[in-house]
């Protein structure tokens, strides 16, 4: 049973990581990365390393998507400012 839950967590991590690589749009990729962070934290907990899971949660579930989305926003907004006024 302990092995079964490890296999489930590993499969979830592999699937979400594959999806994160296959997604092209950065905003949707940020959503998948957030899910990947949570699933990785579950995997670390299942492998008896909850301290690593804690730090993974803190970084992966909120901070990484926030940085990605802010970067995407900044990059998309820049050309608009440089347009000459009509």
């Amino acid at each position: 049973m302990t092995d079964a839950v490890i296999v489930v967590a590993l499969l979830l991590v592999a699937a979400s990581a594959t999806v994160a690589v296959a997604t092209r749009d950065p905003e949707r990729q940020a959503l998948v990365l957030s899910v990947l962070g949570v699933v990785l934290a579950v995997l670390f907990t299942v492998l008896q390393a909850p301290d690593v899971g804690l730090s993974q949660l803190a970084v992966g579930s909120a901070v990484t998507p926030l940085l990605l989305l802010l970067t995407v926003r900044k990059v998309r907004r820049r050309p608009r400012r440089k347009e000459p006024p009509p």
Binding site: M1, P50, L57, S61
Partner: protein, 150 residues
């Protein structure tokens, strides 16, 4: 080895697997909802794992997830507001179903655990989990219309 870990594996395989499918396909509104439900499903699974391994300190991971998961969803609700205002994502059925699952898991674990600090921690986790997810779902559905969008 015991039923708690089996239950956690079922929640992970069924619930988180389904939300992973939801976040991998479909329009943006469906993906945002699936991301919110992922945190709401992983938290009961972590609580069940803590009980299954008989390590009460593992509840800390679930507590941090219950605290930070809705924060992540609020980040998406705030920064993707322009894309979501036209067709706001609403999935109250799924939200309340997952909240019900969290309530059942927390209630069962409270009944099993000896009363004391562990019970208080479980209750705090459950309140944070359900309250946070309802607030995050409402924010996604555009419920806080008075907030200035930026």
């Amino acid at each position: 080895m015991n039923g708690w870990i089996l239950a956690a594996a079922l929640v992970l395989a069924g619930g988180v697997g389904a939300t992973l499918w939801g976040v991998a396909s479909g329009p943006l509104r469906r993906r945002v909802i699936a991301q919110n439900l992922t945190t709401a499903l992983a938290c009961p699974a972590l609580l069940l794992l803590a009980q299954g391994y008989d390590r009460p300190s593992y509840v800390d991971v679930a507590l941090v997830l219950a605290l930070l998961g809705p924060v992540g969803t609020l980040v998406f609700a705030r920064l993707l507001a322009d894309e979501l205002t036209g067709d706001p994502p609403r999935a109250w059925g799924a939200t309340w179903a997952v909240a019900g699952l969290g309530t059942v898991v927390v209630a069962i674990l409270c009944a099993v655990a000896a009363p004391g600090r562990a019970t208080a921690k479980l209750l705090v986790t459950g309140v944070l989990l359900i309250g946070g997810n309802v607030v995050a779902s409402r924010a996604l559905a555009g419920g806080f219309g008075g907030v200035r969008r930026g």
